[in-house]
Symmetry: C2
DNA sequence: CCATTCGTAACCAGTATAGTTACGGATGAA
DNA sequence: TTCATCCGTAACTATACTGGTTACGAATGG
């Protein structure tokens, strides 16, 4: 399910990098070197984070990317919402609407929506308990 | 993320149908009429449920699909695992491995795996609290 | 003035989903 | 035995998303 894409992992990776060195802006090329991908991919992901107010960008020479707020105040749920913008649900409903003449088909989507929302809420609550600062601490601990 | 696909929603829908009428087998064509899709799509989804031991199929005239155990004993987590078989993670890691020469790149995936597992666990725990029988009761309540 | 860097469009390859047709094989009733 | 029914599965298609890549305009600041 789910879908899907590694944007969430890449976004946390990038924010962890920015947290590690908060004093000078990081370029998308430098970041791409750590993530092992193309700078355009990084700029695309960071564009979502910028629209969510998590980072700021600065064009031109000496420019790059910085955190827009303290890493202790950026939860993984914030990151998740920033990269999974719009309507990408964890559990999509049917593509075509079910048969409204069938009692089950008529009501199943409303019943499912309640359960899916509860499960998604549990997932997001768990993500909200962790911050980018936590991740950097763990990375440093693993580095020993 | 996620992925993704509507198989989970369709699987719950189908199991709810089978629960509603447990005495006679339902054909994939009948089920497809309620889901509003093609019988082959239904047989594909039900194939996963059969491999997970949730339903049984019977070929030939008078054949079709039945529940293999009581709907009270089929949680939404069981259904989720049946249709999202193999390795489809809710939160995929990087496609290419990050740069091992970067301190963050070297350890980020292990750090992320811990958080992703915790969030996924919370999601599945919530799904485990609900059964197919619950869904049918809610559908009936909505039907008034 | 000019190298740097972002922002974004465009294109491509790979993959997943879902819909469809087709057909073999098993089943069970007539 | 015959035959309509129904599953199981392969094959093909259209659509969409992801990630990688090249390209280029605009803004920045030394």
């Amino acid at each position: 399910m789910s879908t899907s894409s590694s944007r969430f992992a890449v976004a946390i990776h990038v924010l962890t990098l920015l947290t590690q060195n908060p004093d000078e802006p990081a370029t998308s090329e430098y970041i791409a070197g750590s993530v092992n991908t193309n700078p355009v991919v990084i700029r695309r992901v960071l564009g979502g984070l910028r629209r969510a107010g998590l980072v700021r960008s600065q064009g031109g020479a000496g420019g790059g990317w910085r955190l827009a707020r303290d890493a202790e105040a950026i939860t993984l749920r914030d990151v998740y919402h920033a990269v999974e913008e719009d309507d990408q649900a964890v559990f999509p409903l049917h593509h075509r609407p079910p048969n409204p003449n069938c009692p089950v088909g008529r009501h199943i989507q409303r019943a499912l929506a309640v359960h899916f929302a509860a499960a998604t809420r549990a997932l997001e609550d768990e993500l909200a308990r962790r911050t980018v600062a936590d991740v950097l601490r763990e990375v440093r601990a693993l580095a020993g």
